[in-house]
Amino acid sequence: MPEVKNRQAVTGAQAIANAMRQINPDVVAAYPITPQTPVVEYFAQFVADGVVETEMIPVESEHSAMSAVVGAAAAGARAMTATAANGLALMHEIVYIAASSRLPIVMAVANRALSGPINIHCDHSDAMAERDSGWIQLWAENAQEAYDFTLMAIRIAEHEDVRLPVMVNFDGFIISHGVEVVDFLDDEVARKFVGEPKVMYPLLDTEHPVTHGPLDLYDYYFEHKRQQIEAMKHVKKVFKEVAEEFAKISGRKYDLLDKYKVDDAEYIMIALGSTAGTIKYTVDLLREEGHKVGVIKPQIFRPFPKNELQELLNGRKGVIVLDRAASFGAEAPLYEAVKSALYEVAVKPQIGSYVYGLGGRDIKIEHIRKAFEDAFSGNLIADEERYLGLRE
């Protein structure tokens, strides 16, 4: 493992801003929204100090931020932005256009509850609303992963078999504002890892003029959507390749699913983002009491690592899925995906759905323990949505 030279206590926002500094993108468009704001504030300072050569566009709205990075990326620039919650919702229309234009944009999302009522704290309703937009979704557990994934995202997005935008999700406040120890790569190492951008059909190549964003009627639209679907299928392979290369320079090895004490686990809890850390801690406590428990944290939610999950869940006694977002009138998004994956599993575990933490509500060890205890007593009901930490 390479020696650690660059260990610092930073917030998640600083970690991502530093990844952006090392990436030195050509264009960054930015608009403030809590809890994302510090990312672009730190980055703006790098621009102001001449630490990066990035051209920054301080736009008048998130809609224009996404529009401008679409323009910049189409022009041939490596373009990035960051947002959260209502900002992401305001971008929604152009989020789809970015993906369908196959532009390798990377965007950090400090996950926050969507209004209304207005709430500035963490949940996953913002990113889940973009679930089907055609963006790759990476989900960080902590500042370290937020930093690592931002670097990896560039490589995945720009890979010629992929050419899709990537969202790096990191829990608002919990990760964005919480201070943690992060191991940074040397600037040179990081720069070498991300490499020079690979540009396809740049608008500014006037010798070969191209028309971006044409009208695509019923005679081609379907085929173009199919191409996007196929591109998504390449992501898992590319993620693994990029992760392997990243492991060589960092000593940190990522997989599509982060597995904690699952080998012999009879009961597995699945969650996205920072809560996985709390679950791991709880798993340690429960293990001390003799329970065979483990955690799976999808590092990527789109594309969904269905087959990998099936292999891991086959034959377990109980699977508990924690969602930090609701789907009104249907099952919570992560639960729905896991449940659907289990349809084809030979020996199906009991499964249960738990929604928690909406609008920043704390998730505590007791809550996690309670959900595990439901599983231990065989009390998981596939069609029942339960809540953790809700006053009833």
């Binding site: 050509d26 264009v27 468009a29 050569e53 990035t54 051209e55 566009i57 301080p58 736009v59 008048e60 709205s61 809609h63 224009s64 931020a65 529009s67 401008a68 990075v69 679409v70 323009g71 910049a72 990326a73 189409a74 022009a75 041939g76 620039a77 373009a79 229309e93 152009i94 256009i97 740049p202 608008l203 500014l204 190549d205 006037t206 010798e207 003029p209 191209v210 028309t211 971006h212 964003g213 044409p214 009208l215 695509d216 009627l217 081609y220």
Partner: protein, 325 residues
């Protein structure tokens, strides 16, 4: 390089300045000529145009995949964001130039953003205002056909009172749109660090010169082009230029420019024709003309047009040699 009319005439005859023949706009539509006039001026002056378009008639009719009527780089993103999109393109240009990664580092680029009146006066105004305030070096051109044509003749902020539209039709009880046309030119001029002008295809020389000025202007430019829609204005398809001319001669569409707050009326009409002439030539005002309150509405419009014309002349006098910035 100076503007050379022979050269422009040849380019126009060649039919390929930026937008080529074979697009699917209605015969007689003024919009493609607005684009052609602008792009051929840029090309004649040695610029390579890069074009952004907002959703609307022009965009849907020129880029039906797998075909395109554009022989210059072209990007369409969405309805309300062409100004933001082109600000991204222009910023990318500066970034890539600085980093030495531009494919054609020696090219003189001209960045154009085109939008219909709906995509400019209404839904796109915020992105436009933001881009102009940030000072991107680009030329925004609104082709103003006074309504949402692509979606079928709905009212926009540019629709004049009394014009028939489908979302504010003239009916038994209501006289259609009651509000006057939004004065987009003044809104844009109020951004101060900008070159703003109105143009009409009926005055080509004036049009070309203003594009030249915009290209030379050190900052953003905004050009409003009168662009009759022959379908929904209910005029024959050889009448776009004629009706545009009448718009200018009645003072309904005064030709002027504002450069950092300094006004200049570029076509001094000696005696304005009555606005009624402009109205009576178009089928879209026919329902209005049948109404008992038609005179009232036309008189109100006439009063507005006259006082605005006088105001423009006064502003020209008052702002002479007094740029805001």
């Amino acid at each position: 390089m100076a503007l050379n009319i022979m050269q422009l005439a040849t380019m126009f005859a060649d039919k390929h300045p930026g937008i080529t023949s074979g697009h699917r706009l209605c015969p007689g539509c003024a919009a493609p000529n607005v684009a052609k006039f602008a792009l051929m001026t840029a090309e004649a002056l040695g610029y390579t145009p890069v074009v952004g378009f907002s959703t609307g008639c022009m965009e849907v009719s020129t880029t039906i995949y797998p075909y395109t009527a554009w022989n210059v780089p072209y990007i369409h993103n969405a309805f309300e964001n062409v100004a933001a999109t082109v600000s991204g393109v222009e910023t990318a240009y500066r970034a890539l130039l600085k980093k030495g990664r531009l494919v054609d580092p020696n090219k003189k680029y001209a960045f154009f953003a085109f939008g219909g009146d709906g995509g400019t006066y209404d839904i796109g105004l915020q992105a436009l205002s933001g881009a102009v305030e940030r000072g991107h070096k680009f030329i925004y051109i609104v082709y103003d056909n006074e309504g949402y044509m692509n979606t079928g003749n709905q009212r926009s902020g540019a629709t004049p009172p009394g014009s028939q539209t489908t979302t504010q039709p003239v009916g038994k009880k209501l006289s259609g749109k009651i509000q006057l046309k939004k004065n987009i030119v003044e809104i844009m001029a109020a951004h101060e660090n900008v070159y703003v002008a109105t143009v009409s295809t009926s005055e080509p020389m004036d049009f070309f010169k203003k594009i030249e000025k915009a290209l030379n202007f050190d900052g953003p430019s905004f050009i409003a082009a009168m662009s009759p829609c022959v379908r929904f204005w209910r005029v024959n398809d050889d009448k776009a230029v004629e009706i545009s001319k009448l718009a200018v001669e009645t003072g309904y569409w005064p030709l002027y420019e504002v450069e950092r707050g300094v006004y200049r009326v570029t076509k001094k009409v000696k005696e304005l024709k009555p606005v009624r002439e402009f109205i009576e030539k178009q089928g879209r005002f026919r329902p209005l003309l049948k109404r008992p309150d038609a005179d009232e509405i036309i008189n109100e419009l006439q009063e507005y047009v006259t006082s605005r014309w006088e105001r423009l002349l006064a502003l020209e006098e008052a702002t002479k040699d007094k740029p805001i910035r």
